[in-house]
């Protein structure tokens, strides 16, 4: 009995959780892109939040705890609030009545089919060289140490990038651009 429980906690549960979270991610992703019930951008945004949260679950399964937290805070929090604010600013009522063109659907399915075929073929052709029992832990302390030693220059550059983005956004959102 104990052995059985050990087996579940050691190997089966994470695998089951993977399938649950992967299915949820893909399901919500489909609902973002092609929701049969609603073409409202708000619905898409809400399903994008759910996609991102289930992807954070996948990150936890990959032991990337810090990134899972950042994913929820930055994407599901900040970015999606930004999206919703912009949807609120723009009046998008009439968008829903336009039809999706047949050409667009065909082109989309064709390109997606091609790219999936390429992927499956390359996945079979490559030796992934993956460790069977990985030990990497993405906890905050380790990532922080790496970030402030080896990657300190990119870190500072990214802070400048955020400043530039802020200035650019303020400039762009002025009433008269000149």
């Amino acid at each position: 009995m104990e052995n059985f429980q050990n087996l579940i906690s050691e190997t089966m549960l994470p695998d089951m959780m993977f399938y649950v979270f992967a299915a949820l991610t893909l399901l919500f992703g489909v609902l973002v892109v092609a929701n049969p019930f609603s073409r409202n951008p708000v619905t898409s945004a809400m399903f994008l939040v759910l996609t991102i949260i289930s992807m954070a679950g996948l990150f936890v399964l990959l032991h990337a705890f810090f990134l899972a937290a950042v994913q929820v805070i930055v994407y599901a929090g900040a970015v999606m609030v930004l999206f919703l604010f912009v949807i609120m600013l723009l009046d998008l009522k009439e968008e829903q009545h336009r039809k999706i063109k047949m050409v667009a659907i065909i082109a989309g399915l064709l390109s997606v089919g091609t790219i999936v075929a390429i992927f499956l073929k390359s996945l079979h052709a490559t030796n992934l060289n993956a460790h069977a029992s990985p030990v990497t832990e993405g906890d905050t302390a380790l990532l922080g140490k790496l970030l402030f030693s080896q990657y300190v220059l990119p870190f500072e550059v990214v802070s400048v990038l955020l400043l530039v983005a802020m200035v650019g956004v303020i400039l762009l959102s002025k009433k008269n651009l000149k």
């Binding site: 968008e95 667009a104 082109a107 989309g108 992927f119 460790h131 790496l146 955020l162």
Partner: protein, 101 residues
């Protein structure tokens, strides 16, 4: 079946394909932008799983930077969409035909 790198990569790639489908199929600028975010997230998932299964934290650092840059990119892109909407009163790609020959 034991879940390994291959399964994670498959999920990541299907998500990327979904994002691509959205970019090609949808006509609303905001939804196209959301699909772009979906594609970016798919790449993040691939990087994190490579990082995990190769015992190397550099992939996660890269994802950290991608998330930061994506946040900046979203703010600039949405400001551009709002500025465009102010000028054209539309956020529909078919109405933006200035560059058509």
């Amino acid at each position: 079946m034991h879940v390994g790198l291959e399964q994670y990569l498959t999920v990541s790639f299907l998500l990327f394909a979904l994002g691509l489908l959205g970019v090609i199929m949808r006509r609303n600028l905001l939804v196209i932008y959301m699909s772009l975010e979906l594609m970016l997230n798919a790449a993040n998932l691939a990087l994190v799983s490579f990082s995990r299964f190769n015992d190397n934290l550099n992939g996660q650092i890269l994802v950290f930077f991608i998330i930061t840059v994506a946040a900046a990119e979203v703010s600039v892109g949405l400001a551009l969409i709002v500025a465009l909407y102010r000028r054209r009163q539309s956020a529909h790609v078919e109405d933006l035909t200035t560059m058509k020959l």
